[in-house]
Symmetry: D3
Subunit: 288 residues, 6 copies
């Protein structure tokens, strides 16, 4: 797995630490440990089974709070882990470990939750031609990190924003006065490295789009499996077909078996439960 | 429901819009609508049942993108809505509506998901003395907004960060060399407006804490219902008792019926599924 | 021309105003005008011929300094103007006009310079199939604005950054151990909305790329016109061909006539001379 | 040459890297190199002749992306280099070299272009008393860096903003009701470390200013060489005389020979062509 | 004394350095030292007697300007020092020492002034039960640092903001229609870790508050010593009593002797004179 | 008095409001007023006598929290007011008034304190030729505002930072190897709009500086009145003379009567006591 550059993650992690430290810092740890700078060893441990994502981001939380922190990663991003497996060992002053713990875990649990949900869908479609993709339904401020977690889980990234590809949706078609007109406007404006995907609601629109021949991909929105099958037949491999709508672990296999190229899911980013991960520390008595 | 001041929400919403617009802006809408400034009317509509939170935040997304946008809120934060209910009407240039849609919904669906999950727990404990509280297991960067959504759902806020109350946890007790020593260090350092809560793992620690008499609240971590009952009896109302660990809609009633004052749940912020909300627009044909 | 959303331009314009105001503000205007709030009328006037870009950005400079400023745009972005033509009229307090003047002009002259240079190239290739594209050789911090100016001038945008399309360059080919291997790695990693362009140095590499059949576009780096002609013949329309290297007003026609689809130029962003535009104000005597 | 403190350059370089990395990072390099951390050696090489400025800023780009990057500077800022001369050697992981390359070069080429243009003017006036100065016609966001490049090229800095010296321009004179009144208002408001320069349009205004005796410098705007000569005679060394308007390599010698102290040029910052500098890397095959 | 985490102080110190460096940097030191990187040794020395706070913040100023700077702290925060005592030794390039000096001292003198004023009040009430607390009357942007300085001086922190405890003031009482109603509204809204303090203007209000029994603390605003004494008797230890208003070194002993628990002072943050501290450097001649 | 542009003050005021609101906002006012949007009228009233500065900055605090706030200024910046004088009337929703009150006052009291201290010194030297100037001993982050307050009080601004004028201090003289060498290096590097001031410690250094004739001003550091008198005689009007060191209301008249042009005081910014100003509101009962 290609890790995110620290430069991308750092502003978000720094802001999260400051959000938690507030104006007074960690007043409990200050009261208990005082100015002791004793270093301790702590372990990041899975409390449930899943796919790890964000271990480097979590490490950054400890290192930003104390530059002497050392993290040894034992289960890198992309690892499938079981309950009670140790993911990494943190060696840092007790103060830094205790103060950065929640921030580190908030990133790690959320991103691992997304990777786990993604992998669940990826495995559900194994053997079909369908890939799993995410959407723009990500947490405000965390898009780069959450899209990374999708990749870690084996999923494919869809657009990163409104600006890196065209997705012509129903309202755009309405504004243009029809599928062909919309595609023509899109193609005229698109740069040579910009792909165009069209969202269609039914097979008639699909036919119109295939006739126009201007889309790189077509999103079949809320098609039933039998409609999807018809769409696949109609397209005959001329264009990438993406299914979306009502995608969940229970329905996805049937969707995949229709022969679509791609199934996109907002659920893996907006509703994936966090993976439970904790920090176990050995804290010796300290004079405050 | 007391709304958040716009001043608090604005930096987050502005950053989310810029995250979505990227460097090139909404290239699809630009291609289709061109420089048309025609205004349209669109509705925010629930696609599932739940509790609304963040309608003001969503409004801000439209208004930041186009200061002429007007939003009429029909179901304010805290409303319980059914599938297909209209929440608000947006009147703004088509360009702004289409470009801000996803950002507005990303906030609204997430915050409403949290409010809905919170309300589910609140209703599950109705009739007991237990209140529902959140934790610091929130999304990095969104703590103020997510804690607000908990309030909207009828929950209580726990600490907002490491700095506004003391929570003496197992590692702190270990560092201090015992419950009493930890509480004494905490009390010595705490200002007169700072409360102290102690986390205990068993009834012995609870006894020690009650004897010390220095905690405003005690968090009973991963106690079974029968242990919780014993704890309630032991405390005899001298201190606020909070249950945490393994809290979910299936277990919470039994926990509440033990007589604890408070049940905290990380699940309502880190794993609540988003509430499905969409935007329905009437877009007339536009010359680009 | 579809204007940039103010939300995208505002942080840059605000920062530029603050960069000019420094810590003490406009001390000359303060000394001369004192606290007079008298409004004046001023004209933005072309001092040379060219294509206008950034008139909205310039307006924003005046409006951010004084929200009562009113700007009437007479020659919108994309207009070809002659020396001494009036572009817009500003009505605002004299203090705001004088203090924002340089910032407004710095944006307007630079962006219009880019639009003018772009249009010059566009006109030089008129009648051929070649479009003009920009590169990532833009001014740090101004990429969104400068790419916009290229569009205003009739050019096409290339990638906006390292993340919205793949450009496989010579060093990538070396790292992969060959053209085909590089393209295969790229294709495997690319999402369905990500296009891949390959940079080749000679006709052999071009042949290898055409055989592999995995690139959406091929950049012919520093090919002579006769090599370009050979490349066009070889490709036979199967892939978009982009010429780059040694592109300037003197050489571009010959390049375009080879039949390439696209000619990219760093010169239009990194070396285009600013268009000379000034502000003419009628300032009546004011009591300080 | 006294280098800029990194503290001043860092925010701008960091922002430029993030502007290029976008939300997904360098997807091409990620696809080709995968998580390989192999270090390579690369050279920054002049592709044209000129004066180098910004080699430290370029180094910062590599170091911010990877703190292990080591840059050996062979031709420091201020060096006059020939085509194909090596300026510096970069030793860093291949990923960092390839991802930071464009950002580093965008700074280095622009700043070297400014230094080169400045030196061209400086050499054109050699032997006269005239120094070359820049203006506030700099790129928004880059004023500190561009003014530094002017110093590197042998030029003098004019005001850095509206706040560090007074420049009384035609509109100020109009507002004050005359040259003398304007100078009196300026002098009354100016602190003891603030100099005052007056812009005049003709010899009459110059006379009035000399009579008033309150200006430290006088800017002769758009004077012909013969008018400049008359102005020099009139001033008789009592005040610094600055010529501006229509300054370019072809005209500057004649202006300098009139005896003015200073010639200011917006051209060296707003229209200087970038100096062509490239990066040559030896990239060994890497397993992704 | 538990030091503030660097993460909290760094953004403020960095901004302060940039505020002082402006756009051109330290032009005097550049002119004199040129690019010399010679290291020197300098001492931070008290020019008056007082309590030191902020020595770590001052160190950060030197280290942010030059990461090779080494600071040896001899008199840590909380030390009472005499005139001419050496507080710390700085070893860094002369350029960094001279350029960071004023920023480092601005923090150190202000924070030490606050610690000194706090300690003065703390010592004035020695032997009574009264503690000294600060208020929210702090310098905009420096609240975390100034509240830290109060702790260093032996004082207690009051609220850090509007959000970490409730302080029900006269206007709140008026809005609620009375003391009891206000307290009931506050209690209903307050989380279990939020304390409530009520401000009262006279003994009648105090009685009403004591009857309501809902406040954790009561602020007696502008009570005379005899009224304070009556209040202490009335409360009988049931609630924390805070005196405020007209607190200064001359009046505080009499206030403390009334038996109140807490005396709060805005003066220690908004009006404490800075402690005079200077930097003595041995600068050898340097070739520029 | 020429007001600061809002653009300069806004980032500081916004940051201060957010510093006070924290993550949860004004929880007391929320509890008491609920979502009531009732507007009230409140008065800013002097509680002591002094010179007002910052009334516009205080207004901005209310307006940023609620854009409907209207402030009528009765005693603008620069007014000398007596105890109990009303400065301004605020009309805004009660929530905004109560939540912004402290932030508004923190600015207003501090800036008015500086203006008051400045005016005290200005009046103490009335009738002499001496002007009063500030230093760079300002609060980190507030330099622009505090220097403005000095102007409001009738003082003169000294340098705004390290970059807008040269101040050659003792360490610079040591590094250069003498006064003349230091001045020569400074003059060689200084732009034509940059003034040079030299700090001298005794009359010998003054003589050397006068002989060199390269300084625009000379700072006589810690000279006794008789030494100052000797310095004035020696300089004979050839250069601006500034006295500094041990300047306070008790000593300043004697210093001024020596004939120096300028007396600078760090005290007016780093140690001026805040002017006591309060807010009186009429808050009617509100249903929460």
């Amino acid at each position: 797995m290609v890790p995110l550059p620290d430069l991308l993650a750092e502003p978000v992690v720094r802001a999260a630490l400051l959000e938690d430290l507030g104006r007074a810092g960690d007043i409990t740890t200050d009261a208990i440990l005082g100015s002791s700078s004793q270093a301790i060893t702590a372990s990041l441990v899975a409390r449930g089974a899943g796919t790890i994502a964000g271990i480097g981001v979590a490490s950054l939380a400890f290192r930003l709070l104390d530059s002497s922190a050392e993290i040894t990663i034992e289960r890198p991003d992309g690892s499938d882990v079981q309950r009670n497996e140790r993911l990494a060992v943190v060696r840092a002053p007790a103060r830094a470990v205790l103060s950065a713990e929640r921030t580190a875990l908030n990133f790690l649990c959320r991103l691992s939750g997304i990777a786990t949900a993604t992998r669940e869908l990826v495995q559900a479609v194994r053997g079909t031609r369908a890939a799993i993709a995410c959407t723009r339904k990500t947490t405000p401020g965390l898009r780069a990190l959450e899209k990374y977690a999708v990749r870690v889980g084996g999923g494919m990234n869809h657009r990163f924003g409104l600006d890196d590809a065209m997705l012509v949706k129903d309202n755009h078609v309405a504004a243009a006065g029809g599928v062909r007109a919309a595609l023509e406007r899109a193609r005229r404006a698109a740069g040579h490295l910009v792909k165009i995907e069209l969202e269609v609601d039914d097979l008639d629109q699909l036919r119109e789009a295939l006739d126009a021949g201007l889309a790189d991909a077509i999103l079949l929105d809320n098609f039933s499996p039998s409609e999807l099958r018809a769409a696949v037949a109609l397209a005959g491999g001329r264009v990438i077909l993406e299914a979306s709508g009502s995608v969940n672990p229970a329905t996805i296999r049937a969707i995949a078996e229709t022969g679509v190229d791609l199934i996109s899911s907002g659920w893996i980013t907006h509703s994936a439960p966090a993976l439970d991960i904790g920090l176990d520390a050995e804290v010796p008595p300290a004079r405050p």
